[in-house]
Symmetry: C2
Subunit: 178 residues, 2 copies
C-alpha cells in the first residue's frame, strides 16, 4: 500500500509542560484527506536501579490516566534541551532518592509509534548512593525493591503490566547474564 503524503510536522494543537499534540493533514492514495494527530515528545529515560543484593528499585506510582497505582521502573520525561545522562541522574534522584556511580546504556525503545514519536532511553544504574532531590509536586510514589529474577518472571507471566518496565527488566537481565 502506497504511503500517505504528509505536510511536514503539522500544526501544534495543544502544548503541555512536557509534550505537544501536532495534527497533520494527510492525503491518502485515493486522494481523500484525513487528519492525523500525534504526540511530539522530547523523549524519556527509563532506569533499572540495581542494588548489590540483586534487587531492583521499582516504584508503586499512582497514574491518573489509569485511576490506579502501578508497579513500574523509575522513568521521566526529558527536558527539550536536557542532556540524556543529566536527565537520567535527575530522575533517579527525584524518584528513588539515590544517585548512580554508573549509568550503563541498555538501548532505546519506541513507546507508542502509532501516535507518539517518543523514544525511551534505558540505563542500568549501579553503585547507588543516597542523594535525594525533591520529587515533582504531582507525583505519588513509593519505593518497591524486588529481586531482578522475580521481576523477570513477572514480565514473562503477565504480572508486570507496564510496557517500558517489561522492556527494561528484560534488557537488564540480558546485560547481567540472567
Amino acid at each position: 500500500m502506497a504511503q500517505s503524503e504528509a505536510t511536514p510536522d503539522g500544526a501544534i494543537l495543544w502544548a503541555g509542560r512536557s509534550w505537544r499534540l501536532r495534527v497533520r493533514r494527510l492525503t491518502q492514495p485515493d486522494g481523500s484527506q484525513v487528519e492525523k494527530g500525534y504526540i511530539e515528545h522530547p523523549g524519556a529515560v527509563v532506569l533499572v536501579p540495581y542494588q548489590d543484593d540483586g534487587a531492583v528499585l521499582m516504584l508503586r506510582q499512582y497514574r491518573a490516566t489509569l485511576g490506579q497505582s502501578i508497579l513500574e521502573l523509575p522513568a521521566g520525561t526529558r527536558g527539550w534541551q536536557e542532556e540524556w545522562l543529566a536527565c537520567a541522574q535527575r530522575e533517579l534522584r527525584e524518584e528513588t532518592g539515590f544517585r548512580a556511580a554508573t549509568l550503563a546504556p541498555l538501548g532505546d525503545v519506541w513507546a507508542a509509534p502509532g501516535y507518539s514519536d517518543e523514544v525511551m532511553r534505558f540505563y542500568l544504574a549501579t553503585g547507588l548512593q543516597a542523594d535525594p532531590l525533591p520529587a515533582d509536586a504531582d507525583e505519588d510514589i513509593t519505593l518497591a525493591p524486588l529481586p531482578l529474577a522475580d521481576l523477570l518472571a513477572m514480565a514473562r507471566d503477565g504480572r508486570l503490566q507496564d510496557a517500558k518496565s517489561i522492556a527494561g527488566i528484560l534488557r537488564a537481565a540480558a546485560h547481567l547474564g540472567l
Copy 2:
C-alpha cells in the same frame, strides 16, 4: 507526596478517528493549578501470529511519527464499541492476510501510562489460514516472518526496539515454554 486532585475526565481538545486528547486542570498540593493532557484511547490488540514452523509473522511498517519503517508485531486500535476478539481477528486479517483458528490471551500491558490510558491486549494467534481483508489506506506494511527464538534474542539485546513487540515476544516465548 499527596496526589493531585483532578476534575473528572477533563475537556476534549481534539478527537481523531481512533482516540482523543483530554485536558484536565489539576490542583497541586501547594494549591497551584496545572493543565495535564492525556490520550483517551479505546485500547489496542497486539498479535503474535505463530506458524507451525516456529516463525512469527512480524511486519515492517512505515511509521510517519518516526519517519522510518520499523520491525513490529501486527497490532491495531480497537473501535470504541468493538469486541476484543473481533478486533484481533480483523487486524490479523488486514495486516497479515491470515485468520487464526485459535487466539490465546497473553494478558494486558499499559502502553504509556504517563500520558495515555491505552491498554494493549495480547493474543497468540495459531492455526493460521489465508483469509485477507483490505488493509487500511494509510498503512504501508510488508510481512517479515522471523523465528521466535531469534526475536527473543533481538528483544534481549536491543535489536527489537518497539515496546509492544518486546512484551509480546516475551509473553509468547513464556507461553510456549521457550
